[in-house]
């Protein structure tokens, strides 16, 4: 019994240390964001002031309501399309067992290892050739494309847990292929759908690269791109509190969602990796 207590104490100490390393920068950012704009006293004097000046400045400079809506629209739009077309693609790949399906499976997965910086220029050329104009929705094309490999992989892994016998019964009852998929198979894929929504939603919401390349008008920026405008302010210590406030504004939506749906987040991330 005492041995167990001792090892538990060591575990607690290690976990506490790690938690401090993780949270310390975040707590300091939070405390400094509540300071008035020019307050340059040492940031580690936590919560010494409680004003919203910095938030108001960050809010107006980022044009928060507009960029927030842009982020919400592109993220939701992309995730919905990804769930739909990736799960559809996984259906024949998982159900028809032959060489062609196996090839398609690896063909999609191979997309995982290619970084977007590498292909961005030919993609831009492709957009020009196809006459696709650049606006707030252009990055969605790339969000969807880049989400396909992982989502298809995940849906294919889960498809095995949907019994074929249900489908065979439905076939005998005369349902068409489309009825069978959307009426029976897709609803049973719910755990995979949740997992895709969470893993892909997080990266799409946070991605700044595609919007940075494809969006030039500030009224069409997404949240992370609006943050890039502050890059120059790092050199100016007087602006740090505003910078911190904008960091909090940018991170808050996801953090709130996480705290509300914590179980789904944790299960979704884990299921994505373990089941597949």
């Amino acid at each position: 019994m005492t041995k167990r207590n001792k090892s538990n104490i060591i575990i607690h100490i290690l976990l506490c240390l790690y938690t401090v390393v993780t949270l310390a920068p975040l707590v300091i950012v939070l405390s400094s964001s509540f300071r008035s704009i020019g307050n340059m006293t040492s940031h580690i004097k936590l919560f010494s002031e409680f004003k919203l000046d910095s938030y108001i400045a960050a809010f107006t400079r980022m044009n928060f309501p507009v960029v927030f809506m842009n982020s919400v629209l592109t993220t939701f739009g992309s995730v919905i399309v990804v769930v739909l077309i990736a799960s559809m693609a996984a259906y024949p790949i998982a159900r028809i067992k032959n060489k062609r399906s196996r090839f398609l499976y690896y063909f999609f997965i191979a997309g995982l290892v290619i970084p977007s910086q590498m292909v961005i220029i030919p993609i831009a050329q492709m957009f020009n050739n196809l006459g696709i104009s650049y606006n707030r929705f252009t990055p969605m094309i790339m969000f969807i494309t880049c989400s396909l490999p992982f989502s298809t992989f995940l849906f294919t892994g889960f498809m095995g847990s949907v019994p074929i016998s249900i489908e065979e019964a439905a076939y005998i009852d005369g349902s068409s292929l489309f009825r069978r998929y959307f009426g029976i198979v897709f609803p049973l894929l719910k755990p995979a759908t949740v997992s895709v929504i969470i893993t892909q939603g997080i990266w799409i919401w946070n991605d700044y690269f595609f919007p940075m390349v494809f969006v030039s008008r500030s009224s069409q920026f997404s949240l992370p791109v609006a943050m890039i405008q502050f890059l120059g302010d790092r050199e100016n210590p007087a602006q740090w509190n505003v910078l911190f406030a904008s960091c909090i504004l940018c991170a808050l939506p996801l953090v709130v969602l996480f705290l509300v749906f914590q179980k789904q987040f944790v299960n979704g991330v884990a299921a994505g990796a373990v089941k597949g």
Binding site: S7, H12, L14, Y18, T19, V21, T22, L23, P25, L26, I28, V29, S42, H43, I44, I85, A86, M88, A89, Y91, P92, I96, K97, N98, F108, G111, V113, I114, P115, Q117, M118, V119, I120, I121, P122, Q125, I141, T145, C146, L148, I164, E168, L177, I202, W205, D207, L223, F230, P237, L243, F244, C250, L254, V255, V266, V269, A270, A273, V274, G276
Partner: protein, 299 residues
């Protein structure tokens, strides 16, 4: 569970391949064809605007080699990847094991560890710029508090230390994900297996090495693969925090490709480096898959 079916099934017809069309179309047009276009651009002097470019043969590759861009960026990327893979997996696994024990405040620790993974790279870049800031950043201030000279601390300005500096940031962000996945893997272990080990007289370490680790080898594989992919893609913190500097000490493959294309406007040269990066990535992936498959059986 599924029995091996015959090629021709009445229910699973080839008509099902229709479901593939939307995903396959997007994937081919916006990912596969652009990737193939890279190979053509790599032997041209295309600058992104003038469509009357010339084919210059292997000139781009030779320039990249002569300027030593290839060597430096591959070396930086591989260093970054090795450190990231090693530290985030060892630390992630250790954290997961600690959290898998019967302790109080588990939920709090887990939430805290997972929090950084929710932040955009751009936000994390800003936060760590402050942490690393010379003279009044977080680390420098703490050093001053304990009586060391914080003004000398400037990790991002050192030729040798800058790359480690940004790797630490990526590790800090990634441990949470690794931990969650390892925790899920550990929770699939059957209690009776551990009890059997204890009855056979295993010590805590033996139990971990010979029972737990082999049982979660699939989880280890997936986590290592995920972090290798993340490491080879290293771009964010170079772009946000160091711009490849000081000198070329943090020029990773992806950042160099981006810089040559967008700052120097030399798309042909950038495409040539992309081709090299492609070969490196594919080679590493194949070696890794081969090694992982073999090891999984042995464990």
């Amino acid at each position: 569970m599924q029995k091996k079916r015959k090629e021709k099934s009445l229910v699973m017809t080839n008509r099902m391949y229709l479901f593939l069309i939307p995903a396959l179309t997007m994937f081919v047009i916006f990912w596969v064809i652009p990737l193939l276009m890279l190979f053509r651009y790599s032997i041209t002097n295309f600058n992104g605007i003038n469509q009357n470019y010339d084919y210059v043969g292997f000139k781009n590759f030779i320039t990249l080699w002569k300027e030593n861009i290839i060597g430096i960026s591959i070396k930086n990327t591989v260093t970054y990847t090795v450190i990231l893979v090693f530290v985030s997996n060892v630390a992630g696994l250790a954290l997961a094991m600690a959290l898998n024990a019967k302790i109080r405040m588990k939920g709090f620790y887990r939430t805290a560890a997972y929090l950084p993974t929710l932040f955009s790279a751009i936000v994390i870049g800003f936060i760590w710029t402050y942490v690393y800031m010379p003279s009044n950043g977080l680390i420098a201030t703490l050093m001053n508090q304990v009586g060391m000279d914080g003004s000398k601390f400037n990790i991002l300005a050192g030729f040798k230390s800058a790359l480690y500096g940004i790797t630490i940031v990526d590790i800090w962000k990634n441990i949470g994900t690794a931990m969650i996945i390892y925790l899920a893997g550990l929770q699939t272990i059957d209690e009776s297996m551990l009890e059997a080990g204890q009855i056979d007289g295993c010590t805590g370490f033996q139990l971990m090495r010979y029972v737990k680790l082999p049982l979660i080898s699939a989880t280890i594989t997936i986590n290592v693969i995920l972090s290798v992919i993340a490491g080879l893609k290293a771009f964010d913190y170079v772009f946000i925090m160091t711009n490849g500097g000081p000198g070329k000490s943090t020029n990773t493959l992806m950042y160099t490709i981006y810089k040559i294309a967008f700052t120097d406007q030399m798309l042909g040269k950038s495409a040539a480096l992309s081709v090299i990066a492609f070969i490196v990535i594919i080679a590493i992936t194949i070696v890794m898959l081969f090694f992982m498959n073999k090891r999984e059986v042995e464990l």
